[in-house]
Amino acid sequence: MEKVLFGDNQFFAVNHLSDEKSREQAIRFKDDASIIRVLDQAIETGINTFMCTTHDRIGNICNHLRANPDKYRNFKIYPCMPYAHKYANAVTELGIIGTVKQYVPGNIFSTFTKGGVAYLNKDFIKLMEIFVDAEMKMFKGIDTPVIFIQNVVVDLILGLGLNEVFKKYDAYIRKKYNAEPGYITMNLPALLDALNSVGIHNPIIASSINKIGFRMSGGKEVYERYLNEKTFRPIAMQVLAAGALRPKEAIEYLAGFPKIESVLFGASSKAHIQETRDLIMEYMG
């Protein structure tokens, strides 16, 4: 993995500090062209990996990448699935079965003529695979060497103690996509223990890592102990603690943990991207 990963929250009105700022972002990135412009600026600063959620609009970005193969030859995407709000809103409105019906391409219930829903009920893992394939469709032909599950799903599975599901996901991503599975979590220590318990070793885990302990469940100390002592491939995210930290002090803190392989951050202006990228390379490169 490269040291610097470019995130996508800024494009989709995700701002953990201010609903007002998130609306400004929604207005600014109304057009796909405005997203592509910022991605190109990130590439100009030397960033070649875009870590993004499987938002509908990423499909359009992927079309652009495919249409310009020379320009984006070295460009990689790390998909993060699913875009949770799409499903969460659907589950509130349509229920779980209704959501499956809406989002799985084709008529899933006629695909499995033998019993339809009943078939899926008996094969939860098959359902997971169908969802992964549905989410991955938009990335066809694009280099996706690491494929992540979003924290809301990781932490749900973790909390429910369904750790075997991680094992199945891990195997499926390696086999079907020839990619490395990644995990995003708000509960790093508990997740690493759970993955280890089902035989997943040295996993790629993206989690909040920041000086003020924001969204580091269980406290900063246990995170730091895991970063110093355990075997895994950490990606630091929320490193600016939603803007509560200045970039320099944020990156200085991360530099204290040599195990951190990559830093994920998002920004909307070239100056910001350049500044953060340079800081990461200076302290951690």
Partner: protein, 337 residues
């Protein structure tokens, strides 16, 4: 170690299960639902016992505490059954379909002396908690007006129907979205005693309202506006906010920040004249396990701590949820005028 059970594995029930299960003071012994898609995953991959009959789960597992996250129309019978057996009960919002049923549950919980709580999780968001504290400290002086709002993209086109599209089953924006705002207004600003100009508007739904607008008068005499709309796709997810205006200034509060404007500095609170912004990064309640937001873990932990101490909390009791249901009734009645 407390034994816990959950009825209903929809979005909230699953979320509660994932938060309860890793809790150090709790063993989640049983879950109950009628939809088998989720139950199969539990059966296959977990040691939690699975039921499709809630009475059987309660009678077999005899849990110390129960979470009821079924559709609203079942709350009354399920919570009743649990209370009759002396089980501490957490019920999802909205609390009950009728205030008669709600009152019955409030009385029963008091008779049995069990801990009771309803899932109005906004009270466990640091910003709203800080707003309550600041208003209690009187930093705005005499209050003159408020607005309470909730917007989000639940029903954004005309299509499919679930229990949420049946007004008799507690569906609709009033029960689902506006109830959160009403509860916040009631606990932070003051209890609504009358509703006027109430509008329950259908936008895309055929049977239930997609938006709620009403003018509420509080017991203090202060009036304000309630505005909720779950068919607003300009919001990525549900967004809830309160604005309170007083003679000494104004506060705007949502789940991420608290914007305070004061006409004069307040030294006791260390607030300057003009605008001060407080962020959730400084106000969030630390949790041991995070899923979707600190507030969901914090409310469950609060319930468990109350059960451990066998002491009813002042936050989100059945009695408070009943008051919210009573305001919902006021708005429905007023909208028919």
């Amino acid at each position: 170690m407390l034994h816990a059970g959950i009825i209903g594995l929809g979005k909230m029930g699953l979320s509660h299960a994932a938060i309860l299960n890793p809790h150090p003071d709790v063993e989640l012994v049983g879950v109950c639902d009628t939809s088998s898609i989720v139950l199969e995953a539990f059966k296959k991959f977990s040691t939690i016992r699975v039921y499709d009959d809630y009475k059987k789960m309660i009678d077999t597992e005899k849990p110390d505490l129960l979470i009821v996250a079924s559709p609203t129309k079942y709350h009354y019978e399920m919570v009743s059954y649990a209370l009759d057996r002396g089980i501490h009960t957490f019920c999802e919002k909205p609390f009950s379909l009728t205030t008669r049923e709600g009152r019955d549950l409030v009385n029963k919980a008091a008779d049995k002396g069990v801990v009771n709580q309803v899932g109005f999780h906004n009270h466990f968001i640091g910003t709203f908690r800080e707003l309550k504290r600041l208003l209690k400290a009187g930093i705005l002086g005499e209050l003159v007006h408020f607005t309470g709002e909730a917007y989000g993209p639940v029903v954004v086109r005309e299509k499919g129907e679930t229990w949420r599209s049946d007004p008799k089953e507690g569906g609709g924006c009033l029960f689902d979205y506006a109830s959160h705002v009403i509860n916040l207004i009631q606990e932070i600003i003051g209890l609504p005693v009358t509703a006027s100009g109430s509008q329950l508007k259908k936008i895309y739904s055929k049977k239930v309202e997609d938006a709620v607008y009403s003018i509420l008068t509080l017991d203090s005499g202060v009036t304000g506006v309630l505005s909720a709309n779950w068919s607003d796709e300009t919001y990525r997810k549900m967004s809830t906010s309160l604005m309170v205006m007083g003679k000494k200034g104004k506060i705007i509060c949502d789940a991420t920040e608290l914007k305070i404007y004061l006409k004069e500095a307040n030294e006791r609170e260390n607030l300057e004249k003009g605008w001060t912004i407080k962020y959730i990064t400084d106000l969030a309640i630390p949790v041991n396990f995070y899923l979707r937001g600190e507030e969901y873990s914090a409310q469950i932990d609060h319930f468990i701590q109350c059960v451990l101490k066998n002491k009813q909390s002042e936050i989100n009791s059945f009695a408070q949820a009943l008051k919210t249901d009573e305001t919902i009734d006021l708005i429905i009645e007023d909208s028919k005028r």
